[in-house]
Symmetry: C2
Subunit: 197 residues, 2 copies
């Protein structure tokens, strides 16, 4: 129904996650409504981003050069490595402004059912980083079946190394209500209870 | 938190309608995951689309040249013009494969509260097209307050012309249920009842 080129544009936008035909059509109309400056800006940022954004050779975070800002920052504590699944998780952690160590981005979680095996995520890189200078590895994998599996796998792998392996805490989220929490979360919250005084 | 260039990429994607920060970030990560071929294809389609897709000089539909496929199609009945608000509405109409006339895309609806006045939509073009050869103008504006206002405005404007002005029917959508229909729709469905035999 639409001109072939418009359909091609719609197909381009459909490649983004969660975008169906209707949404892609809205994006395409919006795109065509932009003036030439806006389009040029959009295309140039896209081009530059692909050319200049890499993943950090050490930790897997986004980086404009070889190393990311965190790995280049000499004030960070390189004796503590926080292991996360995705770059987004690293950013979430950074936003707390509490963590001063460095990171390792796995790029996913082990999930045989989805065809993700240990060799498909960045485990080797983590093992290689684990020299004697590293004192603690915080496993901040997501509290999902896949995340727990990966955390368990990593803790077994790292057993032989002289390093503390910790797992982020599970429990009630702050501001949450007991009667809205799922059972598994409540069980974990009970199990992990702390002495108050 | 992210590299500046990545933030710029996220901002680019945020310009699309209904895209918030989280979604834009997902799009940006997806974009960076594409290989060079996919990126090149994406950028080239975007560029070509902006350069070659225009609006039809007659009806306002999307066109790769001066005129759209419908206006170029000599088998279409140019004595009937269906007036729609948006190109998407024209496509919805075309998908029925029932309508053989031509179209006029207004590009919106009159809405003083949103600052859209009659001169902001393509009314002049419609009036100019309304010569003696045109027998019927079907007002297919949306059944919203703005759409109804625009339809009423157009019907007054076209009164002096020797042309039938019709409005698409309002009533229960096919497959709908009475108890789910809103009152206004039911009132219209009653008002517009037809003799069955």
């Amino acid at each position: 129904m639409y001109p072939a080129l418009f359909e091609a544009l719609v197909e381009c936008f459909r490649k983004f996650p969660g975008v169906g035909v209707k949404t892609a059509e809205r994006y395409a109309f919006e795109f065509l409504n932009w003036n030439q400056n806006e389009i040029d800006e959009f295309l140039s940022v896209c081009e530059k981003a692909k050319k200049n954004i890499h993943t950090c050779k050490i930790c897997g975070n986004l980086a404009e050069g070889d190393l990311c800002e965190i790995c280049r920052d000499e004030t960070r504590d390189t004796t503590t490595i926080c292991v996360v699944e995705q770059i987004q998780d690293l950013i979430a952690m950074e936003k707390t402004q509490e963590y001063k160590g460095v990171y390792h981005v796995l790029g996913g979680a082990i999930s045989p059912s989805k065809g993700v095996l240990p060799e498909d995520i960045q485990i080797d890189g983590l093992i290689n980083r684990c020299d004697d200078s590293v004192k603690e590895i915080i496993l901040a994998n997501n509290p999902t079946v896949e995340g727990e599996t990966t955390a368990l796998y990593l803790s077994k792998l790292l057993e032989s190394k002289n390093v503390n392996i910790t797992r982020i805490a599970h429990g009630l989220p702050m501001g949450g209500h007991l009667d809205y929490a799922d059972e598994l979360t409540l069980i974990k919250a009970l199990e992990n209870r702390k002495k108050m005084k």
